[in-house]
């Protein structure tokens, strides 16, 4: 666990597209970068030639696209400057067979700690439904991925990160998540909240009170263990959220406007790669705030 001050500059890669989803991603990334004094790498990924299996490559059109992308990047960059924000940024154009692939390659190239993308389009009521890009990224990234929910572009950058919430499960993967959450909270100078979600979704006939009690007790133990590992200087709290379903449990919690949630990837993921588990997917649907998915490490 290293402190942000003695580590090399944190870098954040944001996958930019010149639409609302891209604007959401850029706004969130800028906010995160500003809060954690990170360097922002704004990346546009264009389809590479290898993508073409039917349509012949046309040099003229490729150039047109590149120029158009430059313009888009320049506009995006100007919009950042307008706010007079103190965020260092670099603009890049990359070629890859897919957006996700290009972003992961860029993250490796820059040694970035985080990839930010717009979560989705068409999610109901402003909540996130995962789009195809985010989905592909979540299935293949070995770098933490932040999903900017629809409307992130309306959150003011100066809002910063007011609190970091780590949704701690009871299963393997929590260590990596805890690590990442602490690092991020320290970098962003934000308090950390550990949350354990407990859903009591049992068939009728079982003593609900008892079940709730045992689950809650178990969750409390997990949180307690997690808290013991936290560095002392960190302002941390722990909460158990209960509800009949994961959705209800999430709704029962209070959320800051400037909050960011970290979740670990599913146990189904190959080690060091992401995969959104069912709990995390349910959370994503309910969360009014951005979510960062952290890949689990190889350690059992």
């Amino acid at each position: 666990m290293s402190d942000a001050t003695d580590a090399p500059t944190r870098r954040i890669v944001v996958g930019y597209t010149a639409n609302d989803s891209g604007a959401d991603a850029l706004a969130l990334a800028t906010r995160l970068a500003r809060a954690s004094e990170a360097l922002l790498d704004v990346v546009m990924v264009l389809p590479s030639e290898a993508h073409n299996s039917i349509v012949p490559t046309d040099t003229g059109y490729e150039r047109y696209l590149k120029e158009q992308s430059r313009e888009w990047l320049a506009e995006a960059s100007e919009s950042l400057d307008d706010d007079d924000l103190d965020v260092a940024q670099l603009l890049h154009i990359r070629y890859a067979e897919s957006f996700a692939e290009g972003l992961i390659a860029a993250a490796h190239e820059f040694g970035a700690a985080l990839i930010v993308v717009g979560a989705a389009r068409g999610g109901l009521l402003g909540r996130s439904r995962i789009g195809s890009v985010a989905n592909e990224l979540l299935h293949s990234s070995d770098v933490p991925v932040a999903l900017a929910p629809v409307g992130s572009r309306d959150v003011h950058v100066a809002q910063g990160v007011t609190r970091v919430t780590a949704a701690i499960g009871t299963r393997p993967g929590a260590d990596a998540l805890l690590d990442a959450s602490v690092r991020f909270a320290v970098a962003a100078h934000a308090p950390l909240r550990l949350v354990s979600l407990v859903s009591i979704d049992l068939p009728a006939g079982i003593d609900e009170g008892l079940a709730a009690l045992t689950s809650t007790v178990h969750a409390d133990e997990v949180l307690l263990a997690a808290r013991r590992e936290l560095p002392g200087y960190l302002d941390a709290t722990a909460t158990v959220a209960t509800g009949a379903t994961v959705e209800e449990a999430v709704q029962g919690l209070d959320w800051h406007d400037g909050e960011v949630v970290l979740v670990g990837s599913s146990r189904l993921a190959t080690p060091r790669h992401l995969f959104l588990g069912s709990t995390a997917a349910k959370m994503l649907r309910e969360l009014p705030v951005p979510m960062i998915v952290v890949p689990r490490t190889t350690t059992p």
Partner: protein
Amino acid sequence: MTHQPEPHAPLTEATVAVDGSEHGITKKGLSAGSVGLIGAIVIGISCIAPAYTLTAALGPTVSEVGVQVPAIILVGFIPMLLVAFGYRELNRRMPDSGTSFTWATRAFGPWIGWLAGWGLVAATILVLSNLAGIAVDFLFLLISQVTGNPELADLATNPFINVAVCLLFVLGATWVSYRDMQTTQKLQYWLVGFQVVVLVLFAVAALVEVANGNAFDATAIELSWFNPFAVESFSAFAAGLSLSIFIFWGWDVTLTMNEETKGSEKTPGRAATITVVTIVVLYLLIAVALIAYAGVGTGEFGLGNPDIQDNVFFHLAGPILGPLAVLVSLAVLTSSASSLQSTFVSPARTLLAMGHYGALPEKFAKVSPRFFTPGYATIVSAVVASVFYAVMRFLSEDVLWDTITALGMMICFYYGITAFACVWFFRRIWWRSVRNFFFTLLFPLVGGVILGVLFFTTLIDSMNPDYGSGSNIFGVGLVFVLGMVVLLSGVAIMLWQAWKRPAFFRGETLSRAAAED
């Protein structure tokens, strides 16, 4: 685009260093796993779409030149090749998504440039509607073959059902093109391989039937089939040629694609050569086999029968292949589908360039931020192609046939202008080297003259009401009417745009120029 000054976007130094800002794309920017030799050949064959092309063009060509189809196929390649050389020179010097439009504007100014762009867009929109029309026929044929109910194939002749299904096809193709959804290379290899194998099987089966004495109208193969001078009249020769230009259309892309790919100096040339040899052999084989099997008479399955001419495979696959005919339907369907997608790209990109340079409303220059395709231009192309097809289907029973002939004419028109643009643009450097002499003067000039002659001959001949399928409007051949409507509406829209957007027509956005070195 190349001639616009690079917008000096405030890119950071690191980015400039990484991405390069000199000429748009740097080699570094392209992924290593780019389209290789086989990939280029596959794309080339899939753009030409031999299964679709032959079924659409064989009948009309037979009706013009009779048994001399093989000769016409061989000769038709010559102007195509000559113009393609000019195309390649221009593409090297000023690569631009507007291709013919941009080049002709640079060489001859905005008015001719605009019309060249119009010719390209019109030709590709004509072929889009034709492609979709052929696909509809084969879809119903396929369904009837699979279900064993021959009546289903006749549903394709009901204009309402036909137009409705056709519009659905175009809608699907638009969706796919807009989102730039391409199959994987592997799948595309299989599809193209399948197409070639089925065509060879089809031809061989026809020859076997001939050998077994089961042919519909066995015609002895003669050397004179390959002699272009055996064609009865110059008119027929010209009409046949302009059709055979259509069958090679799309081949030029292999000559210019991936020229910028690292270490690929030889790839485009090789890919183009292998593609064209494959295509020519395939065409000759099928043409010879089908003529030997069915003859050029007007009997039920004769290639001279106007009822089967606009889609010969549709009618001949069953008698020749029996139960295996379903393979031909599949091959033509997949061939049309891939070709629909690659064909969609070219009017869209030209319209995009026209919008970019202010020759059309700016909306046309819009690129989809998510799919990086010319979104608006793609949708406009689709709408125009659909309307065109719907109107034509109700106007004429032989719509497919007449659009193919009109198409050949439009291709001659804009390819001809492109060839002359090449000659004129390079006028100051013709004599710099032997290579320049051949590739920037002689080849494109000869090619351009041939296409010019073809264009005017076809135009004049097509006034005859008996021309092509014999459809006519007020005693004037439908092909002529089609050609004129397309060209004159182009002129009308050009004048309207010149009034609305004078900057382009004053040469302010894209100026005339000539190569100096």
